[in-house]
Symmetry: C2
């Protein structure tokens, strides 16, 4: 099996959610796996001067319409904009980062559970107790997961992960890296598919 | 034949150029024509706080790579980033706007000639004499075209067109409107295609 696909995402990113529902099947089609990289987009936004799409004049109205339309276009059912948006995603990101080093398969399961909790079931995963409960529902140790969110080592690991992502050129979500080639946005899945099939063009 | 597809674009937009090479065939496939709307993106950028992609930290490097890659992905040959970029596009936009009211078919031909001049042949179409010469090469009256660029009525018409575009929610290039439904970006051509086929989803 070739190198995994790097999938960088923020848990508050609607397009990241849609792509998260598609990337594993796309990777598997080409004999690849997915390396999940939760990041805090706010850190990259300080570099690029960006802000959440939905808060920008003109773009905001379009974005809300396009997010729902794109979810359906990609066959991702049940998408709805959360009533509280955007949210802080440190808790969710730390849980996944901590789990990844212990049980990568469980970590991937928890990525989906957290993302679906937020973008399908309108659960506020910015709350550490709520995010931990979702992870525990997937089989993670409840107390250890909750403790990990406040663990200075895990906090440092997320800071390092953010710095590494920015150093690698990541500035958005989803951001997909295939053998060093960067693709930004759920609307690049078709290019990712062709790149995996052909090795570039 | 149903209503034409609205195609809003700035002549300095690489993704606009790529989409301009695809939109007529896509429209024709669904029995539609294209209504070309040259705009000045800078006016919309003042509303959204946006700036040219290539000038943004992190995003700029990615954008240059993605523009060339996306042109090839969409089968648009010969794309190259102009040596001077971005450019002012008033002259080109005024020519097209002026021609549209006189000879829409010629106006469409001139859109392609100007866009290809800039993004294939590295010709600086911000120069009024150069832009006029390209239009004249397509069959437009040389002296009248050159005069139109400085005609106060044509200047006002472009200002109105920009204001109308912003009022209609346009903030980027390409920006495609199908029966009132807005699509931003060359990466929405697949959604435009399905929308035209199905009337929505």
């Amino acid at each position: 099996m070739s190198a995994p696909i790097g999938f960088y995402f923020d848990f508050s990113s609607p397009y990241g959610f849609v792509a998260s529902e598609k990337i594993e099947a796309l990777a598997a089609k080409h004999g690849r796996s997915v390396d999940w990289h939760p990041i805090l987009l706010g850190v990259a936004f300080r570099e690029t001067g960006a802000m959440p799409l939905t808060e920008i004049p003109l773009k905001g109205d379009y974005a809300r319409r396009d997010m729902a339309r794109s979810a359906k276009f990609h066959g991702v059912a049940g998408f709805r904009m959360p009533s509280r948006f955007p949210i802080a995603t440190q808790a969710a990101a730390r849980i996944v980062l901590w789990l990844k080093s212990r049980d990568p398969v469980l970590a991937a399961t928890v990525v989906h559970a957290l993302y679906r909790g937020f973008f399908r079931d309108d659960i506020d995963i910015s709350n550490p107790d709520t995010a931990s409960a979702i992870a525990a529902g997937c089989g993670a140790d409840a107390a250890a997961t909750r403790a990990a969110i406040d663990d200075p080592a895990v906090k440092d690991a997320l800071k390092s992960a953010n710095a590494q992502a920015i150093a690698a050129g990541v500035f958005g979500s989803p951001f997909i890296v295939v053998d060093g080639e960067p693709f930004w946005g759920v609307d690049r899945l078709d290019q990712v598919d062709r790149w995996l099939a052909t090795g570039g063009w």
